[in-house]
């Protein structure tokens, strides 16, 4: 047991430390999110009256697509150097690899959101930094990390690589997108967190169920 957590932690920290040195993943994701905000601005003409209606969608589309960049990158780095094999050689439970990677991905995504949300407050003059919104942002991000880590591990191993991940991930993430957008919209409109029980339940159910499924299935993805 101790070995399992130790391995998870080691893998997690290794990703964080390596990322600190290069900041590839974080910068890529962050710039991409900013650019998508810009594109949305032109696409929806996000001036004052429209903003609140469109903003939840904008937040979640940005998160969805920038997270795919990050998910891909974290596995591409492993594949290119064959370093994933270094981990597979060791007497480490494959699920520890999953958890370590998943937590790393989660941290990258949250880090991007931590910078992105304040930027949105400034650009659109809407306070998205309320605890209620943050709860939805966090739960939704967890969903992306949980499922995305498994699919990225597969996509990276294929001919199509980065192109395949959105195709695989988005249909499965629909419940998260719906619940997160609806929930965010409702709390931005003045609803309280407790009133969003339904949406919270969907997100929690998704996160928990797929964490369990991912835990069981990841072995099959990395073994040869």
């Amino acid at each position: 047991m101790r070995r399992f957590f130790s391995a998870t932690w080691a893998i997690f920290w290794k990703d964080i430390r390596a990322e600190f040195r290069t900041k590839d993943i974080f910068t890529g994701m962050f710039i991409f999110s900013l650019l998508s905000l810009l594109v949305f601005n032109f696409a929806f003409d996000l001036r004052v009256s429209n903003v609140r209606q469109v903003l939840p969608g904008v937040i979640w589309v940005s998160i969805a697509f920038s997270s795919m960049l990050g998910l891909n990158r974290s596995f591409v780095l492993e594949m290119d150097r064959g370093s994933l094999e270094g981990i597979l050689l060791a007497p480490v439970d494959r699920s520890a690899l999953y958890f370590g990677k998943m937590l790393g991905n989660l941290v990258f995504m949250v880090a991007v959101e931590v910078v992105l949300l304040p930027v949105m407050v400034v650009l659109f003059n809407v306070n998205v930094l309320t605890p209620s919104v943050l709860v939805f942002v966090f739960l939704g991000t967890v969903g992306f990390a949980v499922v995305g880590t498994v699919f990225a591990a597969m996509a990276v191993n294929t001919r199509a690589r980065e192109v395949l991940l959105p195709v695989l991930l988005l249909p499965v993430m629909v419940p998260v997108l719906i619940a997160a957008v609806k929930g965010t919209a409702n709390v931005l409109d003045g609803g309280t967190l407790l009133e969003q029980g339904d949406w919270l339940r969907v997100l929690l159910a998704f996160d928990v169920i797929f964490l369990a499924v991912a835990f069981m299935m990841f072995d099959y993805v990395v073994e040869e």
């Binding site: 430390r17 270094g86 050689l89």
Partner: protein, 235 residues
């Protein structure tokens, strides 16, 4: 130490290993030779638990590879021509990471000792991406030795090394071999085969075509043996 029976490996419709059987006792140094595509790398990767056999049985250190791969991994050190290291971490950080994975909880002394042994102690805190190929290979060997495994598998470790680095590597390997480890090494360098090994095995077309003790072989007789074995293996 290593027992292989009827090992078959298929990739899709291509059969790479066609029924390999051999037994390597403890402490023996074996050099595996063979043309490209013969299945040497595949064979080593199966032993290293990175690939699963399509058929056949493999026992390493008394443990069945299929059922107890976890235990087998403790016994193995694997060096391939791919570094298996993280370029954005330092040498020391890399070793620390792998030490954690192998369950070594206070590895600092061991890490220092290994870095010293492979001659990288001075560069311990430099990022691996600044290392030359020879240095990367040396660090890879250090990584393989972290948990002091009784079995060492090396897949063409001298690929891409200049003569100086290759010589350093050879010296290092001789040093390591001396400590009673079981070693299985693949290489294209026949001279090394003669120099280094107790036993020479030639793999061609997915089968073992020659298996000789190295003590009476010279460089030229090995060359002849190799050529005829490979030609025979293709028939």
């Amino acid at each position: 130490m290593i027992q292989v029976q009827g090992l078959v490996k298929r990739f899709g419709y291509t059969v790479v290993l066609r029924g390999v059987s051999l037994h390597i006792p403890e402490g023996q140094t074996v050099v595996l030779l063979g043309p490209n595509g013969a299945g040497k790398t595949t064979f080593l990767r199966i032993l290293a638990t990175l690939l699963k056999p399509s058929a056949g049985r493999v026992r390493v250190g008394g443990f069945d590879l299929a059922k107890e791969s976890h235990r087998v991994r403790h016994l193995l050190g694997y060096v391939s021509h791919q570094p298996l290291l993280y370029p954005d971490l330092s040498a020391r950080e890399n070793l620390r990471f792998f030490a954690r994975l192998y369950g070594l909880f206070h590895p600092e002394n061991r890490i220092d000792e290994l870095l010293e042994r492979v001659g990288l102690l001075r560069r311990a805190d430099d990022l691996v991406r600044t290392f030359s190929r020879g240095m990367v290979q040396r660090l890879t060997i250090a990584r393989a030795l972290l948990h002091d495994p009784p079995i060492l598998l090396l897949d063409e470790p001298d690929t891409g090394l200049d003569p100086h680095a290759a010589a350093m590597l050879a010296a290092l390997l001789r040093d390591v071999a001396g400590s009673g480890r079981t070693i299985l090494l693949t290489t294209h360098n026949l001279a090394r085969g003669v120099d280094f090994a107790d036993r020479v095995i030639v793999l061609a077309g997915g089968k073992i075509v020659a298996d000789e003790s190295a003590s009476h072989l010279t460089s030229s007789s090995l060359s002849e043996l190799y050529t005829s074995a490979v030609a025979g293996g293709r028939a």
